[in-house]
Subunit: 325 residues, 2 copies
């Protein structure tokens, strides 16, 4: 298939073309990168938009069960749902958080749903671009909702927040004093905190945790992109499938308010600017990734480590060699 054919088929909602397009944007081969850039530009012309929902949660909070229940509910409402993963750990562990499709067995078989296992990755810069472009492909393919899942490690939350319209934090019920375990920075990114497992024996703990987070969220400065009452904390049970409709209602309320007030478009523009700058930076730093540069960096680093030269002098040498190339 040539690029035009892939583009047309993606726009027509063809699943095979969709998967091929995502494989293309995930590739790190130079010719694939270039083709991907052109494909994304072509697809962007249609200006189709899905609601992009970022979802973060550490292992054990019931993230896949939540995504499955939530995704099933949306598809029953007639919405088309794509699920992607941003998983910086998959390169190391060999596995990936969505690699095991059976984890979301029902959703994977549901018409209207598309689950993409996360690729193994080497560095976060690459992950960010590929995830962003995979989201763009799903939007072009006509999905109504794109869920972008991440585990709560390192900078992956920032990446997901920077490609999402709404950012959700999924937590498990906990003792009151564990509240501070969630980094303030993550709290400040969250549009909604969902306390999962509000069922059975954990129900009262979930209720306490929810109240704790609601209190903590009230202490945060109100953000211009939020209507009254947001960000908010809600209880859900993915296994009992309760609270999901209320949570979805709140997501829609927030998204509609932001759309009506121009915040959604403004946020997307700011994200595009951000990613443009990031791409330029990554491109400049890529000069250090050639074999020649790597070996020169290594030998200069050794000289610096032995005290034969200083970091500043050695860096000056390296930079002048790079620019003489």
């Amino acid at each position: 298939m040539d690029l035009d054919t892939i583009a047309e088929k993606v726009l027509a909602g063809d699943r095979r073309a969709l998967s091929r397009a995502i494989t293309l944007v995930e590739s790190s081969r130079a010719d694939h990168r270039e083709a991907a850039a052109r494909l994304i530009q072509r697809l962007a012309r249609e200006r189709r938009q899905a609601l992009r929902i970022g979802l973060s949660g550490t292992p054990g909070v019931g993230k896949s069960t939540f995504i499955e229940s939530f995704g099933m509910m949306l598809t029953r409402d007639g919405l088309k749902v794509a699920v992607l993963a941003v998983d910086p750990s998959s390169a190391r562990s060999g596995g990936s958080i969505l690699g095991d499709k059976t984890r979301m067995d029902r959703l994977a078989r549901a018409p209207g749903a598309y689950i993409r296992p996360s690729p193994s990755q080497t560095h976060l810069g690459g992950i960010a671009r590929r995830s962003r472009e995979a989201v763009a492909v799903c939007e072009a393919a006509g999905f109504d909702v794109v869920l972008i899942e991440t585990v709560g490690v390192g900078q992956s939350e920032t990446v997901v927040a920077e490609i999402s319209d709404l950012f959700l934090l999924l937590l498990a019920p906990a003792g009151g004093d564990e509240l501070q375990g969630v980094k303030r920075g993550i709290m400040e990114m969250a549009d909604m905190i969902l306390i999962n497992k509000a069922d059975g024996e954990l129900k009262s703990a979930a209720s306490r945790t929810c109240a704790d987070y609601a209190g903590a969220l009230r202490l945060l400065r109100k953000r211009p992109q939020d209507p009254e009452g947001f960000p908010k904390a809600l209880m859900v049970s993915a296994t009992e499938q309760s609270g999901l409709d209320a949570a979805w209602g709140q997501m829609q309320t927030l998204a509609e308010w932001r759309r009506a007030n121009g915040h959604l478009e403004a946020a997307r523009s700011a994200q595009a600017r951000y990613w443009f700058r990031e791409e330029v930076k990554q491109g400049l730093l890529a000069e250090l990734e050639t074999e020649k540069a790597r070996s020169r960096m290594a030998s200069l680093a050794e000289a610096v480590a032995r005290g034969e030269t200083t970091p500043a002098i050695a860096a000056g040498e390296m930079l002048s060699e790079l620019h003489r190339r």
Copy 2:
């Protein structure tokens, strides 16, 4: 004074030359940067070493009182002590954490002590290099101990840890549930946690906090650069000047062990490598700081924000223009 004269006078311990040398390394003027790089290389030839002690603590923990009491104790022992500050906030606030010399009035007048107010700074990359080079100048000037102070914000702790032999975290007594307020990453960097204000009414709270942190530190994996029992938590009172000698004894024990086992030198080599790589990266990214590059970046970012082009396509354009320069 020419560079050779400054170098000789710094090596002879001349205070005026020391201050001039630090002013030179703090300057961002291109010709000053170059002269500073040569000065540092000249001074590094002498291979004089001080014990570099990094100290982090949020406002209110009594950091300046601690530095004053601790510094006075060291100078009474006949040691020469320099105090520097890494203060990323000073650019914004207009003030600086060591700008108000009167804060350490006694130490400032003590023979054998040298206090350098922190310069106002614009970005962390610059702060890191200047602080690192100011430490090197103080070492060459014959100081036995260089204390590098920082407030606990953002990445400044990482910067200080990467230019120190020992990294101390100063905390105030607190309720048990506040323990998680200290980021795990900072805990893992600390070689010693000092609970200050272990005096008067706060003494029992300090004792509890100290036990809490001692427990938390025991849960961390033992590091190869540490002897048995480290990292450890200790109580001090800067106002009553108690516990300072014990803390200093532990710092010496740790430093001696690391020196004897080659870890101190290995850490300094690793730091030099790290800063070399950082300098190269900053140098590459500096290509974006020219007026021409800034204005081109701005106009491409606007096109991206308006959706006229994609981040990847626009970044490709910017990069090819930069390399055509």
